[in-house]
Amino acid sequence: MALDPKIPEGPLADKWTNYKNHIDLVNPANKRNIDVIVIGTGLAGGSAAATLAELGYNVKAFCFQDSPRRAHSIAAQGGINAAKNYQGDGDSVYRLFYDTVKGGDYRSREANVYRLAEVSSNIIDQCVAQGVPFAREYGGYLDNRSFGGVLVSRTFYAAGQTGQQLLLGAYSAMNRQIGRGKIKMYNRHEMLDVVVVGGKARGIIARNLVTGEIERHSAHAVVLGSGGYGNVFFLSTNAMGSNVTAAWKAHKRGAFFANPCYTQIHPTCIPVSGDHQSKLTLMSESLRNDGRIWVPKNMDDVKAIREGNLKPTAIPEENRDYYLERRYPAFGNLVPRDVASRAAKERCDEGYGVNKTGEAVYLDFAAAFQRYGKERAHVRGLDENDAALVKRLGQEVIKEKYGNLFQMYEKIVDQNPYETPMMIYPAVHYTMGGLWVDYNLMTNIPGLYSIGEANFSDHGANRLGASALMQGLADGYFVLPYTIGDYLSKDIRTGKIPTDSPEFDQAEKNVKENLDHLINNNGSHSVDYFHKKLGKIMWNKCGMARNAEGLREAIVQISELRKEFWKDVRVPGTQNELNEELAKAMRVADFLELGELFAKDALQREESAGGHFREEHQTAEGEALRSPEFQFVSAWEYQGEPKDAILHKEELEYENIEVKERSYK
Amino acid sequence: MSGIFNSSIGRKFAMALSAFFLMIFLLQHFAINILSVFSPEAFNNTSHFMGTFWIVQYIFQPILILGVIFHFVMGMVLEVRNRNARKIAYAKNNGNANSTWMSRNMIYTGGAILLFLGLHFYDFWLPEINTKYIQGDMSGLLPDGNYRYFEELQHKFVDVWRVALYCLAFVFLSLHLLHGFSSAFQSVGANNKYTRGLKGFGKAYAIIIPLGFIFIALYHHFNY
């Protein structure tokens, strides 16, 4: 089967406009007769649900949390990019497009990325109109900050809680439609299968997580905004409930899964403290605007620090290795995430890690305290040479910018980051891979759409900071509402989709069988036991650096673990009640399949690109070595066992950007 | 407008308004009483004026009584509603960690003040009504031709138990005001740069006024 991305004809800059001018529309009276299901209520799902309801469709929205406001987009910290060029520093739609394609290591689809850059500035207008309280300057205008991998300041933010504010904006738009009855909200519901009737996605099977009831819901189209699958690593910055189930079930029903191996390991997270750990906490990339990353130059100092005999603040400047500034002078501490993470791993692998486990580097704000402190002292007419005063003023400024992050750090680590440098280490954060979609954001199953992190389309092999929020909202507010209309315009005479068809029967039976099996299994290990084991395999063999041997082992080990899981997992309680273990078991079952495909994809991709680093493919300096033969999207077709999946390739063509070595030196 | 008594915010606004009224009355009451310490004559004159001036007697007095009743009834209504808002109590609730005892026990301090008001009415108001409106003696004079007010006041504070009860009631009043004063301002929406100052003033008011009343009671007890 050939993959058709359905990219519109014409020059890059006109594609989206031309497309919109020529699609079919649904008249308002007909929209009232069309149902759309939206899975997930994060930035993508929430904004899509609100917009589709505004347009007049009947929307049923589902989330597993107790309220749509709790979707994990809420945890995004640093900001959202938009090509507004309010700073007059040379930004433009093209530059945002260019940065994103380059940042993605030339593994994303040109037309999609350009469209993303094009609608980015509408997002800011929209959010401000909705009452999102972005940070402002004293003149009352919007403020910007910088993020990794770019040379302009185009990131809009609301302290370290940008995701929260944007999500609450989308949630408020949803609330308006829920109040009007145009969105029917299903909280604490989990989608457990997609129902395909006559080759088209026509509904879902969902489980009410409070009563355990299995429900059938039909619609003319199904939209998955169910997020990423970082939790396949067990430890990640994702929420505990974040899962791949919706996307994976779609995959099992025929939707291709693209680039599963592209995973973003975020460089600035709080290091693992022990075996009890249930999740990792991100420290926003925005901190790298002002923090400098270093490890000691001398092994003696490293040892002394680990033994607790030396404080990092006591190490003089000349004995510190600011390795990012050393290796990448042009971008310094603001290199993209994949580069920063690998550099941290390189130092720690060499033995320079600064905590007990040797897996941490410093993120130091001392220089920023000085810089900001002097500035503020100057503005207030105070003594710029009073060191204590300057430090205090500088800390004040940093507190205004990142106060919540510093507080979060202190609560978790029990150290005051204003007095001693933060310790950070990379952690799994975002997954660029996801369901394969065409330009319309539709999967290869007609009527099944995938938006936000759940699809693969815009970030290539590595996502730039502050681009996930942009993509989620762009997809939901401004892209999907057009493209889905074009599809639904052919469905105006279909009428209500019945839920008593054999396809619904079969899907429901399938779900029930799995639930029955798990609840009656009475094995000897908890769900977490298997999840942790899977996470260990993934982190060790499919983590920041991968090699063929390890990946082959991973495939075998995951497959064995999956068999053991189905044989030996123990799920307490019953089906007809709130049973978190059961919900978790269903999710982990899918992770155990996805993990294997992940490893297979990583094995197949004989190159290093973005978040995918194959040890066999690196330059003499240890940088990622891309291969032109792999300038394609790997889209996998399900065949029963993940290891038997069939690879389909979507070749990537770059007509408007020169593919070159990705250098941040 | 109908929202005023049917909504939670309306009710608390009404509570605050009646509180303001009562707090102003209290100040006025105190101002007259303290005269009894400095000048029995001024006290007598003012008392007679207040006791016979028709605006005070026929307009302010009923409003005051209604205000007290309203404040009390509304307080009870709120208490009942608030109890219904949590039908199962916590097994362990560490209220001291987040709020003052006074703020959590307004219903009890208020109830104590209400009981005191019963005594206070029995002591002063009922005899007053009896003399003026049942016996019809509006002169305010004793048989010896002097005003009776100071004399009556002194008599009341002879009994040590009564004085003790009065003092105790004023302690409750103080506790009630310690939360009530600033709470009333918050209820009407005043929370701004003056709030800190206002809170300080409220504390002072809540302590000084009841303390003043206690002083007056003790003064007359020991100076009779």
Binding site: G179, P572, E577 | -
Partner: protein, 248 residues
Amino acid sequence: MKLTLKIWRQKNADTKGKLVDYQIDGIDGDMSFLEMLDVLNGQLINKGEEPVAFDHDCREGICGSCSLFINGEAHGPDRLVTTCQLHMRMFKDGDTIHIEPFRATAFPVIKDLVVDRGSFDRVQHAGGFISVNTSGKTVDANTIPVNKHDADMSFMAATCIGCGACVASCKNSSAMLFVSAKVSQFALLPQGKIEATERVLNMVKQMDEEGFGNCTNTGACEVECPKGISLENIARMNREYLSATFKG
């Protein structure tokens, strides 16, 4: 550390619950409170017992899922943290810890420590938004400058995570802090002022219908709020409401 836990267990909304004692050992100060409960649940599962149900998701203090009334305080004894950020170093070896659900008539218990906070959502449906379509065809974001102080205050109000600690801590189970945070966020911004009257009237009406209690200004909500939402917001909502009411 070794701890005694007194945990509220309740099979479902229709059955009565009770406090059940559990002993737990080997708890490390670096664990979060929820990780401690994970350990307990792991042990319960291994013993063939039902694990304790509690809401949680992001585990970094922002989603507002986690709740728990710990030793008589919402989100436990620490300040400006949610339960997931509360660390066991706040407790001592041998401590007895009471763990109860957030209690309010408007937050019925679903199971064990899980409560239904749908009432918060319904208050938001009533008016927690600015009525603007998401077409993106609004004016440029910088057309209307917003005073930085107002923008910051609006942001501070908007950081509310909707966890319900305010209701749980309030002796009256009042939701005023939550509702006022949303009302304030919009009331402070020029784009939100336009429908301020309807918003505050509708949201307060819904709040009252949900069965929350009346605010008596004890200030417990502000102290226990993991995001430090200020009582000033309640005063602002009172003002907004009163002026909306008098306007008719």
